[in-house]
């Protein structure tokens, strides 16, 4: 009697296990076929000189990798990407922190500002690219005109090799700082009210509260945001593609734009492009590990 009971319960357990595998299977199979297999294949592809026609693929060992570091265009695009990241990230984070501190309370005005600031996030890169191309157009652009009214002459920001990258930075921040603000606002709202009350009793003013309560309180979200923003910056593609197409004179050709061009606008460089993306992958991995280490350290403190 008890034996059959036990047997039955095992089979129930097994049935539940089977159900679980069954439920995971559709998503699991799709992720394996369209994510993990391509990842494994990418390592193989990076050792090939090949285009779309696989029958013409030729094994070249690590040649693609050694070639990368003597490729002037690769080094140029890496420099551009790093420059972009170094300018974009600090600005983005400062704007995010300041605005979220100002807008954290759920007053009607703050809610309105938050929804306005978030609006560009939902626009497509194409809409954003077209809009800013027109807004900054050297003849018909309204911002160009306003800048001229403010006394600037010869405003042609998008076609100027000295300014185009900074325009891309500006537009990227314009499009995404709403995300940073929202994430940090919810982090601030999760800080217990009692901490503010305690610091107020200790005589801390708004500014001191910001530095001693708000900032430490949002650190976990801050680091996470910083990590995702850095990874995102290193993979910058959409806005460059729709705003400048990498020009003028390649001054905004970021690494991923270069990888895309190499892979799909030449006949036999898919292997080489993939090798470049592996280098980026390793770089991103290193940054992720470092950031996680910092994050764990700050949350231990």
């Amino acid at each position: 009697m008890s034996a059959t009971g036990k047997k039955k319960s095992i089979s129930l357990e097994q049935r539940r296990q089977r159900t679980a595998y069954l439920y995971i299977a559709p998503a699991g199979i799709l992720l394996i076929v369209f994510c993990l297999i391509p990842l494994l294949a990418s390592f193989y592809i990076s050792t090939q000189k090949m285009g779309v026609d696989l029958s013409k693929a030729k094994f070249v060992g690590l040649d693609n990798y050694t070639k990368i570091f003597t490729d002037r265009r690769f080094l140029q695009s890496v420099t551009i990407t790093l420059k972009y990241t170094l300018v974009e990230i600090p600005l983005q984070m400062v704007i995010g922190v300041v605005l979220s501190a100002l807008l954290a309370k759920n007053t009607p005005w703050n809610k309105l500002f938050r929804s306005i600031y978030f609006l560009p996030v939902i626009a497509s890169a194409v809409t954003v690219g077209v809009t800013w191309q027109l807004v900054l157009h050297s003849n018909i652009g309204i911002f160009t005109y306003w800048l001229k009214l403010l006394g600037f002459s010869d405003v042609n920001l998008l076609n100027n090799t000295g300014t185009a990258l900074y325009v891309v930075v500006f537009v990227a921040i314009w499009k995404t700082f709403g995300i940073s603000t929202i994430i940090l606002v919810s982090a601030i709202q999760n800080i217990p009210e009692s901490l503010y009350e305690a610091s107020a009793i200790d005589g801390a003013g708004k500014i001191n509260q910001f530095f001693y309560v708000t900032l430490p309180g949002i650190m976990p979200s801050f680091w996470f945001l910083l990590m995702t923003r850095i990874i995102g910056s290193l993979q910058m593609f959409d806005i460059v593609y729709t705003l400048t197409r990498g020009g003028p004179s390649r001054t905004t050709t970021t690494l991923v734009v270069y990888i895309y061009d190499t892979a799909f606008n030449s006949l036999d460089k898919m292997g080489y492009a993939t090798a470049m993306s592996e280098v980026l992958f390793v770089f991103i991995m290193i940054i992720t590990v470092i950031m996680y280490a910092i994050m764990n350290k700050t949350s231990d403190d």
């Binding site: 595998y21 439920y23 076929v33 994510c35 306005i116 497509s124 194409v126 929202i182 993979q235 992958f281």
Partner: protein
């Protein structure tokens, strides 16, 4: 009692004082909001202007004439706008609806079942979030090419259905539900799938709406993937179709204004009605770290 009174008074004093101090900040926030919206508003207004009006110097912010109907007619006749929209809708819905189902199912299994290899599998799923798209871009393109799916909806949709991110989001939502619920249903003799479909899934509706809206928005705005696998003229989506169109004829400005405005409108409507879900989606992605 008295203490309470004193406290309210001091709070209201603080509020008045803060109100005055807050004014410069408020004005700054307003200017910021205006600068942020100005390009978008100018673009919308641009779709009302005629070509000559757009070309006038100095450029005007507000339109004089109303050429919206004419611009619309030209957009519809010069690019196959309706077809681009149709393709985008099929891509977005085709990705999102099956995606909600398979990702919720997987998230449910990870949240509510114990099974061998659960942690390893979950880590493996999470790891897929770490892979930058451009690393798998070439192999994925080749996969779609050799499946014969280039320039088909299959190629556009199927590789994008499963997403570790949505699985993660659904899992968190399912984890928040009480255990008694499924036990009660199980005692009532309900089948496992029935418990998932009829009881658990409706309970995480807010999370599912978030997934729905964000996924639609992602697909609608996706540029790189359609650029790769649906580049044939009749298979383009709004994103890559308009990118091509703008690249081809940069001189027809009022068309560019109109096309960009119209392609953004559906997302604007989604945002106005589902704002809190968009925000919730971003907020959870921040907290999970």
């Amino acid at each position: 009692m008295e203490k309470g009174l004193v406290r309210t008074k001091s709070v209201s004093n603080v509020r008045v004082k803060n109100g005055v101090k807050y004014l410069p900040i408020f004005i700054m926030l307003c200017i910021f909001a205006f600068l942020l919206l100005a390009p978008l508003i100018w673009m919308c207004l641009g779709s009302f202007k005629t070509d000559t009006e757009v070309m006038q110097y100095p450029p005007k912010f507000f339109p004089v004439a109303n050429a919206l109907a004419e611009n619309w007619r030209r957009v519809l006749s010069s690019i196959d706008f309706l077809n681009l929209t149709k393709n985008t809708v099929i891509y977005a819905v085709g990705c999102t609806i099956p995606g909600m189902f398979v990702n919720a199912l997987a998230g449910y299994a990870f949240a509510r079942f114990e099974f061998k290899g659960k942690n390893v599998l979950f880590l493996l799923f999470l790891a897929t979030m770490m892979i930058p798209f451009q690393v798998i871009m070439v192999p994925l393109y080749l996969e779609v090419y050799y499946l014969g799916w280039l320039n088909t909806f299959w190629g556009l949709i199927i590789p994008k259905v499963a997403s570790a991110y949505w699985i993660f989001l659904c899992r968190s939502a399912f984890q928040g539900l009480p255990k008694d619920l499924e036990d009660a249903a199980r005692i009532d003799g309900m089948r496992e799938f029935g418990i998932f479909w009829k009881i658990m899934l409706p309970l995480i509706r807010p999370a599912m709406i978030t997934v729905f809206l964000l996924s639609i928005n992602n697909c609608w705005n996706d540029l790189l993937w359609p650029l790769l696998v649906s580049s044939a003229t009749d298979m383009r989506t709004l994103s890559n179709g308009l990118a091509m169109f703008i690249g081809d004829r940069t001189s027809e400005y009022s068309l560019a204004f109109t096309a960009a405005t119209v392609s953004m409108l559906p997302m604007l409507v989604l945002y106005i009605f589902g704002q809190k879900y968009f925000v919730a989606g971003q907020a959870t992605s921040g907290i999970k770290g």
